[in-house]
Amino acid sequence: MLVGALPFGIIFGTLAVSSGLSAGATLAMSALVFAGAAQFIAVGLIASGAGLLVILLTTLIVNLRHLLYSASLLPYVRHLSQRWRVPLAFWLTDESYAVAHRHYLDPNAAPEYKHWYFLGSCIAMYSNWFACTLVGVVLGSTLPGMADWGLDFAMVATFIGIVVPLLRTRPMLVAALVAAAVAVVAHGLPYKLGLMLAALAGVSAGIVAERLTASSAREVINDGA
């Protein structure tokens, strides 16, 4: 996990600086927002001259998945005080969720220390992310040509690496294909509205496909009966 985030953080730092964000703002973003995918997209939007409201709305959509993570971990943290819950929520990311969730399901680990494990993995990810952003900012400012190296492809590769293993069911595949098609067709729309439109279309297509699969499955059962 840490190794995976290593190039990601460095590249975020270089891209952010080259897209016009100041070094201070780049570091502040990694320290206060701490959400890799949303930060990358925000930097891309800044580079393309998108407005504040568009960036904030995109942040909301891109990070909505964390609501699912918090719902899934809720049974394990509800006995903790708010002094625990606030930092654990702040540091809840894809990676720390994956690590913590696995640990909570592990029957061999001592239950009374599991939130310490959760906290530890969070702090490791957080300091790693911040340090890598710092390295990226320094590199990006000293080597101005780095923005043209095509390092932004790292984001494409990372997102593909996250999405492809999720495409296990047919509705998921439909959601991805519809989102891709709409994103390409609607790319010319102002304020990056194409991204939001495509996300919405993909989610709707997934829901419709799921209902269709479910109802056709029911018909098969009824036919068999």
Partner: protein, 108 residues
């Protein structure tokens, strides 16, 4: 830091924290309506694909570019194959980036 940057980062931080903390703060189990739960399920795939597809398929000028000289397309396809075969994020990132840079270097 400019005022614009401060507003932007504060806004992003508040939104992100609100999403992550709301359920932890309430503390008791929250039942999503089936529609919301179903919709949330598809959000990561839809959003990430919507970001990746234009980056792979469109040129810098926004034109559809399906030629072999589009390194983003070639590298992206390599990433899809690697991700489907190995299901390992690090393998996908390193392999696809290697393919992308070699392809660019080969094209000159």
């Amino acid at each position: 830091m400019t005022v614009h940057e401060i507003v932007l980062i504060t806004g992003m931080a508040v939104i992100t924290f609100a999403i992550r903390y709301t359920l932890f703060a309430v503390g008791h189990r929250v039942r999503f309506s089936p529609w919301v739960a179903q919709g949330l399920h598809y959000v990561p795939v839809a959003v990430l694909t919507a970001i990746v597809a234009p980056a792979m398929l469109l040129s810098a000028g926004g034109e559809l570019d399906l030629g072999v000289d589009n390194a983003y397309l070639v590298g992206g396809l390599a990433a899809i194959v690697l991700a489907a075969r190995w299901r390992n994020l690090l393998v996908t990132i390193i392999g696809a980036m290697l393919c992308f840079f070699l392809w660019r270097w080969w094209l000159g």
